[in-house]
């Protein structure tokens, strides 16, 4: 698969949106993430790679509060979001997440899925939300499916709608957790194209994926995690052609025949 490289220079700014400092996470007795330090600037696209079970999904889930951390800090707009009185409801509107299994609400139509959050949580006017929802659906080519139920759609369609649902909340950062892992190969492209489109518009994103050529094309920086620790952070060109660490090279070899 060939990807058009996304131009890096114009989008990035220097404003740090999300800063992770010394993050530790344990499940019972097992340490899942250790000493994670990462900063994400506005407009930046960070792709997290690593072998299965290395903790990359867990890291993503820590960023929107689905997992609690034991040590360290996560700062959003330079405000810590790890203490107990943090209002996750408010933060999750600004940090959107798309899951591997789309997780659309099965008892609602496509359009109802999309407008639920904006109307009930953000208390926006229905007419305004419907307008935005329709525009977004049109952008991903699914406007004609607005009244369908999730069960009537293919995996690729559901995933695109899941992305639209998250976008309709107008988040500042989008988190993508292996969003093409459950899809048949033919449908992977249509979803990645949507993410590519978002990249061109300057959306800040943290993407966990196994799609290597996509990662290479879209990332501003590659974060390679192994056994819960960040092994290396590099620019994509450097990472894929001449990685700094042996572990990274081992990992990349898996994808070469």
């Amino acid at each position: 698969m060939e990807w058009l490289g996304v131009s890096i220079v114009d989008r990035k700014t220097d404003e740090v949106l999300l800063e992770i400092k010394g993050l530790y996470k344990k499940y019972d007795e097992t340490t899942v993430l250790e000493d994670i330090n990462l900063s994400i600037k506005k407009g930046e696209i960070v792709v997290v790679l690593g072998p299965s079970g290395c903790g990359k999904s867990t890291l993503l889930r820590c960023l929107n509060g689905l997992e609690k951390i034991q040590k360290g800090d996560i700062r959003f707009h330079n405000k810590s979001i790890v203490n107990n009185d943090v209002n996750w409801q408010e933060i999750r509107q600004r940090i959107g997440m798309v899951f591997q299994n789309y997780e659309l609400f099965p008892h609602m139509t496509v359009i109802e899925n999309i407008i639920l959050g904006p109307i009930k949580v953000q208390k926006r006017k229905k007419s305004e939300v419907m307008e935005q929802a329709r525009q977004l659906l049109d952008r991903v080519g699914l406007l004609d499916r607005q009244n369908s139920y999730p069960r009537q759609l293919s995996g690729g369609q559901k995933q695109r709608i899941a992305i639209v649902r998250a976008l309709c909340m107008n988040p500042e950062i989008m988190l993508f957790d292996e969003v093409t892992a459950s899809l048949d190969p033919e449908m992977v492209r249509e979803v990645l194209d949507v993410i590519l489109g978002l990249a061109k518009q300057g959306m800040t994103m943290v993407i966990v994926t196994h799609e290597m050529s996509f990662a290479r094309a879209v990332a501003d920086k590659i974060v390679f995690i192994d056994k819960g620790r960040i092994c290396e952070i590099s620019e994509p060109q450097e990472f894929f052609e001449k990685p700094k660490t042996g572990r990274a090279q081992q990992f990349l070899n898996i994808f070469q025949y």
Binding site: N64, F99, P106, H107, K120
Partner: protein, 221 residues
């Protein structure tokens, strides 16, 4: 077997009245059970301390003892301690007490069928806990519960046959009287069976249809 049709026609009013009583008791029993069951299931789902244990004890006690004994205890036992209840009140309380735990189980299994990832999905678009329960969990829980709720309704309607034991003028008592006084055994039994068939068969078919409709809505097949 030749049935005395004249007798059957003559005793129709009695049976209709008794069937109506049965339906009324069944209706109240089902309604109150559903409310009790729903509240209990919410408490169990949110694991509210203390209340959770109380309800678990309640469920075990009511599910592992016969309705007849519960009714005898209520009607004959509690009255001796100064609580005077009419036989209809006892019947409804007894049915609700038993039905409540069955409904609680039905609602609870529905709630737990909603996957954790659905909840996470709702959280990630910023829904509050209440909104999550109202818009994501309850609708899905309900459609999963429908078969069990339906089965419970039929179960409770059948259990009303027991309330005759505490002197409610229901179908069983009318039948017993007709057999005892007039010796029209087959006619009385015939009416009895027909009454229950008329009450329960349509309900059973309705619930099968409802089940299929709800299952389609969820899974499309």
């Amino acid at each position: 077997m030749n049935l005395n049709w004249q007798f059957i026609i003559d005793s129709l009013p009695l049976y209709l009245k008794a069937a109506w009583t049965t339906l009324k008791l069944g209706f109240w029993g089902i309604l109150i059970s559903s409310i009790i069951g729903f509240v209990c299931s919410i408490v169990l789902y949110f694991k509210v301390k203390v209340l959770k244990t109380v309800i678990q004890v309640y469920i075990e006690l009511s599910r592992n003892t016969p309705l007849l004994i519960q009714l005898f205890f209520l009607y004959f036992g509690l009255t001796k301690l100064g609580v005077a209840l009419s036989e209809t009140a006892c019947a409804i309380i007894g049915l609700s007490f038993l039905g409540g735990s069955y409904m609680a189980e039905a609602f609870r299994s529905g709630l737990e069928a909603v996957s954790k990832t659905q909840i996470e999905s709702g959280l990630s678009i910023g829904l509050s806990k209440t909104q999550l329960v109202r818009y994501v969990v309850l609708p899905q829980a309900f459609s999963v519960s429908v078969p069990s709720i339906g089965a419970n309704c039929i179960f409770l309607l059948k259990e009303t046959s027991i309330v005759g034991a505490i002197a409610v003028v229901d179908l069983m008592n009318v039948t017993k009287d007709l057999i005892g006084i007039y010796y029209q055994t087959f006619e009385a039994l015939f009416m009895l069976v027909v009454s229950y068939l008329i009450m329960i068969l349509p309900l059973s078919l309705l619930l099968t249809w409802l089940e299929r409709k709800v299952r389609y809505a969820e899974f499309g097949n």
